[in-house]
Amino acid sequence: MEIVLVGLNHRTAPVEVRERLSFTADQARRAAGDLRAQGIFEEIMILSTCNRSEVYGVPPESRREPAAALSEYLSTFHGVRADVLNGSLYSHQDRAAVEHLFQVSAGLDSMVLGEAEILGQVREAYRAAHESGATGPVLNRLFQAALEVGKRVRSETELGTRPMSVASAGMKLAERIFGKLEKHTALVLGAGTISEQVISQLRDRGIGHLLVMNRSIERAEEVARRYGGEVVPWADWEAALQGPDIVVSSVSAESVLGGEVVGRAMAARKNRALLLMDLGVPRNVDPAAAKLYNVFLYNIDDLTDIVQQNRRARESEVPKAQFIVEEHVDKFLSWQASVEMIGVLEALEGKMRAERAAFLAAHMQHLGHLSAADHERIEAMMDELLKKIVMHPAGKLRGERNLRRKIQNIEALRDLFLPERDKP
């Protein structure tokens, strides 16, 4: 029951290689079918996100070097030359593969440490593989454990609690001031990349009403259409400031919002709280606006500082998360050993019984002088001896997890007692 992982991620491969090796849902299903049909794996699951493509599989006992066969298959499937993949692909077996998956689901292997999306992606990949029948008892158990690790890390550590991008830090700040954003209005000045990131975050957090303003009305309309916002003409921006609770500015002009303008807007809105996020460089909002009553002004440096603090805070949580990962790796390997152990012990029990029957058959004919009762007694004594030698320790091994942990290398036991043909 070997577990094999072959894949690449943002650490080992540039985006040009990652995008060539990524799988759509349909491709993943097809590849899983191929790999099982070719006898490379009995169980298989493919995890493909923008930052990683990884194939987890359980090869048949008789399969030699499944990782090499899988690398070759990936190269053929995606039409990428092997020399391009060399150096980008990593492969792990057993404990290392299990640990890697658990780290992935915990967010420890993500580009943004502790990001939450990966857990959903692992869940979705597992669901798809399970539904298509590509997984089996080992991968089912493995991925259920991985999902549990992800959940535990998120609930028991601070790894994923703090915002790690300027846009999400801004949203968290808005929630500190206004609580839930469903009943609030946001105005976004500018429609560039940063503005779009902010708009996307605002939508994710359920902003009640979204206004978009840009010098190019066509671009504003395009963004507003995509995110379900309303366009406000650029000429009306001073009046537009009076309504929203959150104003995000990211335009390439200096001091779009002067202190006096914000002051007039605050007077018109009767000092209702206003969060100004100035993401422009040079700054779009006059710093003097921060002195106004109920105005909360954050510029790009302030938000970047928050992100830096949060990154340090997340990094300090890594040991706690790693501890949870290790705990579950041990738990999984113990389960895996117990399953293998049961198979080996059952085979061993069968073999012992057969040996006993053959032994008795061979020797009883020379013991014709004994009565039938003596024959039965001898058989009973042999049964008792067998129980003492094999069955009792087997029962103990089934029951005691700690004992199983000590005998993780079950192969040795198997090779010791069972010839090749008897292996389960």
Partner: protein
């Protein structure tokens, strides 16, 4: 010290520890445990007050220490209700130190049987006192939340976020919780005052209708009514309303100390 008192302090103490832990590690289980310990503390505290009343053969507010302990209990009880209503636990870490401080202060004195019959008695009088103490507890809670609001607002405006600000309730929620607490206080003080007038009418021999405490209480009602009106006006929302709430509670402290001690006889219970 009474065994029940020790267990009460312990339960509140453990609850405070868990609320503080919650500030640093946002774990649901810790929050639930904190609330459960607070509920345990409230129950133990209730039985402690009951036991004390049995010892004295009088209501808990008969002496200063009993009244202080009752105040602490009602303060914790009001917070418990608000926590369940608004589903916000962060405040526990800021409120329970006050509860513990007041409770321990109330426990320092041994129960003393009243020298003579109390000037007021009966159900109406008991309700008058209990509702008044509840009102002070609710206003006390709004005072703590207003302080918290100003602290959080200050940290947000100065961009000093650190770890804890992320755990604070949103400013908007703090405003709503303060308003809820003031409304509980207003209801309690209005009903309590009304019952006070009824109790005075029933006193034998009759006492003078006028007491400076009436004016101060009406002033307090007026100040909190002003708060409830102004905090909905956009120009007052936020820091200004919180400052008014803090000022109002300062007036209450003045009322229960200076006014009770020096300006009134009918309300001088200590």
């Amino acid at each position: 010290m009474h065994l029940l008192a020790i267990f009460t302090v312990l339960a509140y103490g453990v609850s405070l520890g868990l609320y503080l832990r919650l500030l640093y590690a946002d774990q649901k289980i810790v929050g639930r445990a904190a609330t459960a310990m607070l509920a345990a503390g409230l129950t133990l505290h209730y039985f402690f007050l009951l036991d004390r009343a049995h010892q004295l053969q009088a209501v808990p507010y008969q002496d200063l220490y009993g009244a202080v302990s009752l105040f602490a209990w009602l303060l914790a009880l009001t917070y418990f209700g608000l926590e369940l209503f608004h589903r916000q636990r962060t405040l526990g870490a800021f409120l329970l130190p006050f509860v513990l401080l007041i409770l321990v202060a109330g426990m320092l004195g041994h129960p003393v049987a009243p020298a003579g019959p109390p000037p007021g008695h009966g159900m109406v009088f008991a309700l008058h006192v209990t509702l008044s103490v509840l009102a002070y507890a609710a206003f006390g809670l709004s005072f703590v939340m207003s302080l918290m609001y100003l602290a959080e607002e200050n940290l947000l405006r100065r961009h000093k976020l650190g770890t804890i600000v992320w755990r604070f309730p949103p400013l908007d929620l703090l405003e709503r919780m303060t308003r809820s607490s003031v409304m509980v206080g207003m209801g309690a003080i209005l009903a309590g005052t009304l019952l006070g007038f009824v109790a005075v009418r029933r006193l034998e021999p009759p006492v003078s209708d006028f007491d400076p405490k009436y004016i101060v209480t009406l002033g307090i009602v007026g100040l909190y009514a002003a708060y409830l009106y102004l905090e909905r006006q956009t120009s007052w929302r936020g820091g200004r309303a919180s400052r008014l709430c803090i000022f109002n509670f300062a007036v209450i402290l003045l009322s229960v100390t200076v006014v009770n001690l020096f300006l009134t006889r009918a309300h001088r219970y200590f």
